[in-house]
Each structure stands twice: as structure tokens, then as C-alpha cells.
Amino acid sequence: MTNSVLEAIRTRRMARALTAEPVDRADLEELLKAARRAPSAGNRRLHRFVAIQDPLTLRLLRMVTPGMFQRPTAIVVICIDGGRAESFGMRPTAKGLYVDVGTTAQTVLLAAHSLGLGAGVVTSFSQAAVSAVLNLPEGWSPEMFICLGHAAPVQPAGMRPRGNVTWQTLTHWERFPAKE
């Protein structure tokens, strides 16, 4: 069966080494259009995106992002608009806010893959430092970076060796049996 969506899901990888080739503005805009189409609980749209291509800003963001191994030529920062969330009566710790960060990220990662771009997510950064570097509006919290560029031919080894993880090992069918 040929299914381009399933094929994209199967072949997507996190890119932790990127070349210096810039990301086209048009491609970046396509990714932002995809982000706008990501699932959003209650269609509340509590997330905002900051797209960065300026080399100096990228450099400073990398300085305050210990988890950034790659040198991206573009970054999409997924932010939560805390003020807007509060207007819906949501606490800052409401899990839905963070679930939507994840669904947005996956949507953008697949879109990037479909355009032939390398992409990787990073959450190990100081939110306070990033907020200062980007001069984020009051109430916006940066939650995730999607680092973008063109994947280098050689990628660093992953954190862990690939084990025998299959969908079956991750799945339990139906109700768990009663305890004896």
C-alpha cells in the first residue's frame, strides 16, 4: 500500500546535525501554515509561534539552550499565550496546553519532512533567557523549539541504542484482567 502520510511518519527522524544552508522563507511559511492546522483543544488557539531566521538571534538562542546540538538556520518557537489561556479559565499547568504543543510540533515535523527539511525539537532551554532574547510579550511562555535546516549527511548517534520496540510492545489490547 502506498500512503504518503504513513510513509512520512515512518521515515521522519530528528535531525541533530544540520548544514549551513538556509531555509527558504517560502518553506518556513508553509510550516507555519501547517502549524496553524494542528489540532487545538476546543479550537481555543492558545499557542503562538515565533519564527526566527536572523543569524545573530539564532546564535543567542543557541547560547541559552543547553539541549541544542544542531546549528539551525531557522527556528520556530512554540509559545503558550498564558493570558489567552487564562481568559478561558485555564490554569498555567493545565495539561491540554502542553498536549497541544506536542501535536503542533508533530504537525510541523511532518510538514518539514515532506519539504525535505531537517527538523528537531528542543525543550532544554531557559524560558527566562529565551523570553529576554526574543522580547516576548507579557504572558507568553516559550515551550518548544523546532530547529530547522537541511540535515547533514552524518547524524550523531542517538542517546540509546535502538531496542526491540514495536507497536505491539507498546500496546495492550482491551481491558486489563482483574487482579486475583
Binding site: M63, F125, P161
Partner: protein, 103 residues
């Protein structure tokens, strides 16, 4: 001087922000972050250091895997760090001429 102010600031920012991110992250990331900091420092100074130091930076230090963590292979991880530490110890002995001092 082997490190410019810009480069020193970059490393300083990394260390300070890593101290914060580590509060929330897996404990095993602490070694990873320190190695990343060492790698960034190495990248900054590699062209301006002595041949012996450069050999360490491009050799044993570079061989420490960027993304490895302890839980994947505890014994192997410790052994790989021991190898880097042995090499840095020997570099210190050579660089500071410890074994050539008059006794």
C-alpha cells in the same frame, strides 16, 4: 588569549542556563550537559591552542559521544568518561610539565 569575550559569554550563558534546565530534567543529563559545555569550549579554542591540547580536543574529547546517557549502558558510559579523564589527566601532566620538575 584563547577565548574571546563573545566565546566566553557563549559558554557562560550555556552553563548558567544549563544549571536552570537541570533542575527539571533527568539527573543523567547533568553529565551530558557538562560534556556539551566542554565540547563548545573545545570548538571555541581549538584553533588557538598548543598542538598537544589540540590533539586532546580533536581526539579523546571528540570521541565522547554527544548524546550518550548513562542509562543506555552504565558501565560503558563510565568507561568512556574514564578514558577521556585519563587523557585529560595526561594532558595536564604534559602541559604543566609535572614530570619534568626538578625534585
Amino acid at each position: 588569549m584563547v577565548l574571546s569575550e563573545d566565546e566566553a559569554l557563549e559558554l557562560l550563558a550555556f552553563l548558567v542556563t544549563a544549571a536552570r534546565t537541570q533542575v527539571d530534567e533527568a539527573a543523567e543529563y547533568s553529565s551530558l550537559r557538562l560534556l556539551t559545555a566542554a565540547g563548545r569550549l573545545a570548538d571555541a579554542i581549538v584553533d588557538r591552542v598548543s598542538p598537544d591540547t589540540r590533539a586532546f580536543l580533536t581526539g579523546p574529547l571528540k570521541q565522547a559521544p554527544d548524546l550518550a546517557v548513562r542509562s543506555a549502558d552504565p558501565a560503558g558510559y563510565a568507561a568512556s568518561l574514564d578514558a577521556v579523564c585519563r587523557a585529560v589527566g595526561q594532558l595536564l601532566v604534559d602541559h604543566f610539565r609535572l614530570d619534568r620538575r626538578a625534585t
